[in-house]
Amino acid sequence: MAFAKVQLDMEEKKAERQGFLSWVKLRPYAMIFPAIFIFCLFFIYPIGYMIYLSFHDWNFVSPVKDFVGTSNFSYLLSDRDFREVISNSFIYTFFTVFLTISLSLLLALWLNRGGTVYSFMQASIFSPHIISLVSVSMLWMWIMDADYGLLNWFLNLIGMESVMWLTSPEYALTSLILVAVWKGIGFNTLVFIAGLQSIPKDLYEAAELDHTPPWRRFLKITVPMLSPTLFFLTIIGVINSFQVFETINLMTAGGPINSTNTFVYYIYQYGFQFFKIGYASAAGVILLVILSVLTVVYFKVLSKRVHYR
């Protein structure tokens, strides 16, 4: 120790002599350089480039990028389709997250106990999570087929009219939400169960001694103790839902009549089908802004209510 101290002192003296470019002062920066470099290369640079492109008119290939100022943005904001895209994204996100979270919380409360039946149920509910989204989309396209699908066959069986699940503008978004909820419930339930199991049992025992009714136990013990989990799942859910792509690409291609077009699909469409990368980047920037604002607001408003142990 003493030796190290002496060496450090010497180094520091040397550092003073050599001015501010000394190794001692640079060392921390050198240490974090690899991480920062990778971060900048893969995170900061693409975002910067996207923002740069959003002010240009470019087709991805031509050597010239025409600077067009903010016209991409003004065109976007005046585009009726884009306004639909924004509202579709919000509707999709709100209902997907709300339904997934509330259903999985109920399921978690029900399934949070031992026994073969319950562990079998847990595994079954989790299984959609491990199926790739492409397979899920194909499966549901078959189930939701308007003429030959299983779902309409069942509706007809119980005396209801067939529904054009994916091919009518009224129902298409709802159908996609349904698929997202079906797919998301497993993972959320599992995380909730883990959260429930980490709540100390003595809290419930104490409550029982005081004859606290079950719903009060739920509201005063379970919910506060689960709040970090709830918070985590909500924010992940919101971000994921805003970026939904696979199901839309395969099941509806944003249609019919734009009724299921959401942010990332819209960006893909303009970038890779219409070859307007500047315009697509501008939409990407707007998505970035919306998600950032949402996250910050969410943290500001809700983090106070989250109970961290």
């Binding site: 971060f39 893969f42 995170f43 693409p46 975002i47 480039y49 996207m50 087709n59 991805f60 290939v61 031509s62 050597p63 396209m141 087929d145 308007a146 003429d147 030959y148 994916l166 091919t167 009518s168 503008p169 924010i235 971000i239 970026q243 792509f245 395969l250 099941m251 509806t252 291609a253 249609g255 019919p256 009549i257 734009n258 942010f263 990332v264 960006i267 893909y268 469409q269 970038g271 890779f272 089908q273 219409f274 070859f275 697509a280 980047s281 939409a283 990407g284 920037v285 998505l287 970035l288 998600l291 950032s292 996250t295 910050v296 943290f299 983090s303």
Partner: protein, 432 residues
């Protein structure tokens, strides 16, 4: 402090996730080495569509690889035309585009004008072997951009009408088929039995609409490709043809990503008496008809005021920016794929048009026409072929048209003029 750093990390993660959407690109791994270990020039060739069409591509590439020992081509399947185009573009931007790929003919303009494909004019001029006059002139309309040659006709098609003649006989219909719009409506009504069977199941599709407009005597776009022209009397007649039939219930018009596949299923399962589709589906449909046990005949598309059909399919193109050696190799490959013998092979294998006159006249094709007259319809119909629009922003125009037509089909109360005017207004804004 801890919370703040967590927030920062989350914000960064968020930025990244959002950025993924903007700069998503297809990281298709492919061999970039100019020469493989055995000294052959390595080329990659991308194609669209599977089933019979995919097999045909794989077989022809195999033939090419076996026919010589200087070039080796790897064929890769890339999905539908739209997917193929999107992937080609992404790969081009990433610097690893395939040397040879297909352009759906309406997209020749986009690719050529944005500099992704190679001008082939000089290759033709410097090559004594190739005889450009042998290509069917009806198919060359979508090969030239600004008077420069960008693609050679490869798997080319026209829409034709298929009819389930077993059902037609049951319905007491004449097997010579409908030749006018009026007759087409009569046939459709006769097929409709009110019990799930309709005259035709049709996807809302731009290609068929282009056909109807041309038959009504109009056109989809003006000649320079600067404005749309479908918001005309002819465009309205064309749209009303299938809109009215949809309202009367003699035609099932469906939207969505699976609409085309569904129309085919309806036809194959006997839920629709007639079917519009590319001639490329002929082999496949004949095979399905045999499995399902019904007779299948092919016909010209019904005529309106005029007898016209758009052509379709894909041209072979070379991507730009290749070195000399690869260009020559790619040219050899393109030449092979579009040569008389291969053209006849592809035509017989799939039902695509023989794009070379010499192929259509070859003994092989003549024997086939004798045996299966269904194959000859598309060839004869090609006399009436018109080129597809090639405007740079046409893909976006198509999306607008499909959206507005879907709106019109789903909501009977919107007047036809309004449907088309709304679409035209939006489309013209895009074309500017």
């Amino acid at each position: 402090m801890k919370k703040l750093s967590f927030l920062l990390v989350l914000m960064c993660a968020l930025l990244v996730l959002a950025a993924c959407g903007g700069s998503e690109s297809d990281g298709s791994a492919e061999a970039n080495s100019a020469e493989a270990s055995d000294g052959k020039v390595e080329l990659t060739y991308w194609y669209a569509w599977g089933d019979k069409i995919g097999e045909n591509n794989e077989n022809l590439v195999k033939q090419f690889n076996e026919s010589q020992d200087k070039i080796h081509v790897t064929a890769e399947f890339q999905g539908t035309y739209d997917e193929l185009h999107a992937k080609t573009q992404a790969a081009f931007a990433a610097g690893n585009a395939p040397e040879v790929t297909q352009n759906e003919i309406a997209s020749i303009g986009v690719f050529a004008k944005s500099g992704m494909t190679q001008d082939l004019t000089s290759f033709v001029e410097n090559d004594e072997e190739i005889n450009m006059d042998d290509f069917n002139p009806g198919l060359m309309g979508n090969s030239y951009v600004d008077d420069k040659l960008y693609g050679l006709p490869y798997l080319r098609s026209t829409p034709i009408m298929y009819m389930n003649t077993t059902l037609a006989e049951e319905a007491g219909l004449d097997l010579k088929g409908p030749s006018t719009w009026e007759e087409f409506e009569e046939y459709a009504a006769a097929f409709t039995d009110g019990n799930g069977r309709v005259g035709m199941s049709l996807p809302i599709d731009i290609w068929f609409y282009e056909a109807f407009i041309a038959q009504a005597g109009g056109s989809t776009m003006n000649e320079d490709g600067t404005e749309v022209a479908f918001n005309s009397k002819e465009g309205a007649e064309a749209f009303d043809l299938f809109r009215n039939m949809s309202n009367e219930g003699t035609m099932k018009v469906s939207a969505g990503t699976e609409a085309g596949e569904k129309a085919r299923q309806d036809f194959v399962n006997g839920h629709a008496g007639m079917h519009f589709s590319s001639t490329a589906d002929l082999s496949y449909l004949l095979q399905l008809a045999e499995e399902k046990g019904f007779e299948l005949q092919t016909y010209f598309m019904p005529s309106g005021k005029e007898t016209k059909v758009p052509t379709g399919g894909a041209n072979l193109v070379m991507t730009s920016g290749l070195d000399e050696e690869k260009q020559q190799a790619a040219w050899e490959f393109i030449k092979f794929m579009t040569a008389t013998e291969q053209t006849a092979y592809a035509s017989e294998f799939t039902g695509y048009l023989p794009s070379r006159l010499s192929a259509a006249e070859s003994e092989k094709m003549q024997a086939l026409y004798e045996e299966k007259p269904q194959f000859k319809v598309a060839v004869d119909q090609l006399e009436n072929g018109v080129a597809r629009p090639m405007a740079e922003n046409y893909p976006e125009v198509v999306k607008i048209m499909i959206d507005e037509m879907t709106r019109g089909i789903l909501d009977e109360s919107i007047p036809t003029e309004e449907v088309l005017d709304t679409a035209a207004e939006k489309a013209n804004a895009v074309l500017k």
